[in-house]
């Protein structure tokens, strides 16, 4: 059975303009990612890999081109529609965890299902279950400042997964972690991908991590590097 394409981009371009100077961060990028695929985006520093992830994850808007996610044209969505789309269909894991320091691990995880309108019992149970799944069942009432980097990143993964997103985006999720925690994180991604068929798009600069994905998309100078496979 043919796999369903969940992300489809056509000729996307991202240009930053400063006065008369134009800087091309992405040029003519066309990629397809299948549902249930674990894809790594790799490339040298400044190649545009994070910029590409931000376009795919609706955190930024491309200057040109088309992006379709789960069959929906996401480039032309209004600001509030994009917010809703992120809440309903996407999950994010950032390099520096980006948890809300005023919220406990549990609250950081259930804030998005709460915003989706789930009832209190439901969102607390879902958040507790997912924190349990990432190995933080005994830390749910801890604040981010009381957790290690690896634990914070796992909270961040739990937050990204709690709404069962169509796609999980991870932007250099292991960059601030020690080697053990990094390995744990990538292993967890692999496990989620295998067990529940979670689509994952991960930016990394570590080849070993990239090799654990189903496929690597190489980016260089804002273009797809087709010489690398």
């Amino acid at each position: 059975m043919a796999k369903k394409i969940i992300i489809n981009t056509r000729n996307i371009e991202r240009v930053y303009t400063n006065g008369m100077i134009k800087t091309y961060a992405l040029k003519d990028i066309s990629v397809q990612i299948n549902e249930g695929e674990f894809v790594a985006i790799m490339g040298p520093s400044g190649s545009g890999k994070s910029t590409l992830l931000h376009q795919l994850g609706l955190l930024d808007i491309p200057t040109k081109g088309e992006i379709t996610i789960d069959g929906e044209d996401v480039v032309h969505l209004s600001d509030s529609e994009r917010t809703r789309f992120r809440l309903e269909k996407l999950g994010y894991v950032f390099q520096s965890y980006n948890l809300i320091p005023e919220l406990t691990a549990l609250e950081n995880v259930y804030i998005t299902p709460m915003a989706r309108g789930q009832n209190s019992e439901e969102y607390k149970k879902n958040a507790t279950d997912i924190l349990d799944k990432v190995g933080l069942g005994d830390r749910i009432h801890h604040y981010p400042s009381e957790l290690s980097g690896g634990q914070q990143q796992r909270v961040s993964i739990a937050r990204a997964l709690v709404n069962k997103p169509k796609i999980l985006f991870a932007d250099e999720p292991t960059a601030n972690l020690d080697s053990d925690s990094s390995e744990d994180t990538v292993r967890l991604f692999r496990q989620l991908n295998k067990e529940i068929g979670q689509t994952i798009v991960m930016v990394t600069h570590e080849l070993e991590e990239g090799k654990k994905a189903d496929r690597i998309i190489w980016v260089k100078d804002g273009l797809l590097d087709k010489n690398k496979k």
Partner: protein, 399 residues
């Protein structure tokens, strides 16, 4: 905005405040101090103005004052008129007065002094002389050849740098008084009074029976002072007195304020200006503090947007936090202010015009509270709106 959104707004606002207690305490302390700085000074000025007016009411005018018509020197048949007015329900007191002046001589000092011939018993209900006896005793209606003298006429109560001529008398000393009809009599000082009002403390008070003996006239009055239950009911009682068939002038205390009115008016204008400047300063201070607080949360705002929290929810949570800062700060300021007012009511500020109790008017309370709460909402709204409108990546990663 639905019920669920409001729940998230309240949750985020509560967590932000609960986790940043020191910020919360600093902001509400600034709010409370701003509230106090605006209201306390204004309350003292209002209390000062009120004290000036009360000084006039209690010493010179009463709430209402009946005066002779333009063509007459005196109110005639004053005894009957006083009795009739006293019968009006609610009237607290009615006191006829005769005004004159004398040349007072003591040792080698001679001074021209205004004199009030009073009904000592009736004055108890109208004026405050009896409450302000510094030395000696208040007059009784049976006293003859005795007088009360204001402290401003006595040398021992003069300030060091005051060179105005005064009498070096004390309680028990005898003054020689020369009246306008040539009559000269000795009067013993029975008491010295100091009301704090310079319009009263430069007078001599003698029993009205003495007037009949000196001038041979009775049943007349220069003025009849009427004490009412409170300020503000002058119009009602004026009509009641007119209904008695009184043809003399009936003037409320406000028409007799003269210089006091100008002075109090000047104080009130000063109060309005300083109050306005105080409000602006407080507005700016609160705006800056809340602005900095919200600006420091820019990254959190970006994260919340990134994970799909609506802009309206983020904005709402910061505006709600600001509203809570405003309300709690103003309530705290109010509590401290009420405490200060209670304390100063028990122990009034001693000022040259007398004891001053600060007065916080309801209007000032509402205006100040509303302005400070408004300032905090505005201060929360604009920076959080800007952060919520910002590009997500700039908010999270800076730029």
């Amino acid at each position: 905005m639905n019920k669920q959104d409001l729940k998230v707004i309240s949750f985020l606002a509560y967590k932000n405040i609960a986790k940043s207690k020191s910020t919360f305490i600093v902001i509400i302390a600034v709010m409370a101090m701003s509230f106090l700085s605006i209201t306390f000074f204004a309350a003292i000025i209002d209390g000062l103005g009120y004290e000036f007016e009360e000084g006039m009411i209690e010493g010179l005018t009463g709430h209402l004052m009946i005066e002779p018509t333009k063509d007459d020197l005196y109110i005639t048949n004053s005894d009957t008129l006083v009795k009739n007015i006293k019968r009006i329900p609610g009237v607290v007191g009615v006191a006829p007065r005769l005004e004159s002046s004398v040349i007072a001589t003591y040792k080698n000092t001679e001074m021209g002094i205004p004199v009030f011939f009073i009904d000592a018993d009736e004055e108890l209900k109208v004026s405050n002389f009896h409450e302000n006896i510094l030395l000696g005793e208040y007059l009784s209606s049976k006293d003859t050849n005795e007088l009360l003298i204001g402290a401003d006429l006595i040398e021992s109560y003069a300030k060091e740098d005051d060179t105005q001529k005064r009498l070096d008398v004390n309680v028990g000393d005898t003054l020689l008084l020369s009246f306008s009809n040539g009559e000269v009599r000795d009067y013993k000082v029975k008491g010295i009074f100091k009301t704090g009002s310079k319009f009263s403390d430069d007078k001599i008070l003698i029993n009205t029976n003495e007037y009949s003996k000196i001038f041979g006239k009775d049943d007349i009055a220069s003025k009849i002072l009427i004490r009412l239950p409170d300020r503000g009911s002058e119009g009602y009682y004026t009509q009641k007195i007119i209904d008695l068939g009184v043809s003399e002038q009936i003037n409320p205390w406000q028409t007799k304020m003269g210089a006091v009115k100008q002075f109090v008016g000047s104080l009130q204008i000063t109060n309005k200006i300083t109050g306005f400047i105080g409000l602006l300063t407080a507005f700016a201070t609160i705006y800056i503090i809340i602005f900095i607080n919200v600006t420091n949360k820019r990254k959190q705002i970006g994260i919340l947007k990134a994970v799909g929290i609506k802009k309206e929810i983020i904005l709402g949570s910061y505006v709600l936090q600001s509203l809570i800062y405003g309300v709690v700060g103003v309530v705290l300021g109010n509590i401290v202010m009420q405490g200060l007012l209670a304390l100063l009511t028990m122990h009034p500020l001693s000022m040259p015009i007398g004891d001053v109790v600060p007065i916080l008017t309801f209007d000032r309370l509402i205006t100040t509270s509303a302005t400070l709460i408004f300032a905090s909402i505005i201060a929360g709204f604009f920076p959080s709106k800007k952060a919520a409108d910002d590009n997500i990546l700039e908010a999270i990663f800076g730029g």
